[in-house]
Symmetry: C2
Subunit: 196 residues, 2 copies
DNA sequence: TTTCATACTGTAAATAATTATACTATAAAT
DNA sequence: ATTTATAGTATAATTATTTACAGTATGAAA
């Protein structure tokens, strides 16, 4: 995103804080009052600049019609997916984990509950929520979510000459060897855990 | 929170979805149009019911002045705290992790970066963000953040007869034994990790 | 030297949005 | 039997909020 001036930065911060505090963005007049401008036009020109530079979006003629382009990325928690159902629908939806956009970057994310301890040594425990990014290039050594034999599984991915190895981090489990193209749902890019 | 009727639930959901989509709550008229009411008073009575039951807050006379009482809990990421500074100020603030309130419950939370691998066997890795809850009762076996010897440390907590043991999960490290009252910052109740 | 972005003042008009008042009707609870 | 909560219609008044227009001034870039 383009550089913004100091004043624009301050106005952006004000909108952000106001939203965090109240749950909705400020009006033009509220911004005007906060910065002691004597005309709403002063605010409008700053908002136009911020919109032009990609920091906010504005709905014309709507009150408080300011959307911050930054802030949160909402990751839906799909929870457990029934075995045998290769499609991820937003039906088993359990809520959201939400992180600052600059935390994970742009992309399509969702979150799943991990079952079992086959990835324990990679720090992925039973009951953890893995954050999965779709449509990412998978490289050897990446942790992936794969649909195999009617179930979802989280494993290390290794592409060998004649097969693909889905390797658990836990040495007590065996690797899965696949010769056909496996159904990779996405790459594990994050983790969320609740600790009792 | 008190039970709400089906209609109230639907209106609450609409406000929630609208907010997720746009970044700001709907106006009374927008709700009215969506539900094909022919009077704003119909909406107002539902909003009054929702407010009375504790689901929303409303700022009178403000446009879009609806705040959802549910939804997100913003956990500030304090990142690294300089060693030797026992007070956690929101100055090293790096952003937010935000989760649904029903995920972690009520309380005061913040998030810190973990340094080192002394808790590796507990699934807490170098670079992880631990979510810390303040003012919780600490029991033996809990993972805590403690200020000791000018630094912050994440360890298992064990209160023995004459001393307190701060035990690492990694057997390569030694326990810290404290005889005076240690400065417990809070209990580790969650974890967030970015995986490259 | 002309253009462009920034950074405003000041006022009026237009429209968006909330509230207020006066009603009707139904089902559940005391 | 009466109160209370729910679930509405319909209209008008009021206030909140945005936009539009006409300006001024400054510094940087082409």
């Amino acid at each position: 995103m383009k550089n913004i001036t100091e004043k624009q930065q301050k106005i952006f911060e004000f909108i952000k804080d106001y939203g965090l505090r109240t749950g909705y963005p400020p009006t033009i007049k509220e911004i005007m009052d906060y910065f002691s401008f004597s005309s709403p036009t002063a605010v409008i020109s700053h908002l136009n600049a911020l919109e032009k530079k990609g920091y906010i979006k504005r709905e014309k003629k709507k009150s408080r019609g300011i959307t911050l382009n930054e802030v949160f990325l909402n990751i839906p928690i799909i929870g457990t997916i029934p075995a045998g159902v290769p499609k991820i629908e937003e039906e088993n939806f359990e809520g959201f984990i939400s992180v600052n956009k600059d935390f994970l970057g742009k992309g399509q994310f969702f979150s799943l509950t991990v079952k079992g301890d086959s990835m324990k040594q990679a720090g992925i425990f039973d009951g953890d929520y893995v954050i999965v990014e779709k449509n990412l290039e998978i490289k050897n050594g990446d942790i992936v979510v794969c649909f195999y034999d009617g179930e979802y599984t989280v494993k290390y991915f290794y592409k060998k000459k004649n097969f693909i190895e889905l390797k658990p981090a836990n040495p007590s489990y065996k690797s899965i060897i696949i010769k056909e193209n496996p159904l990779i749902i996405g790459k594990v890019v994050g983790l969320f855990r609740k600790i009792k």
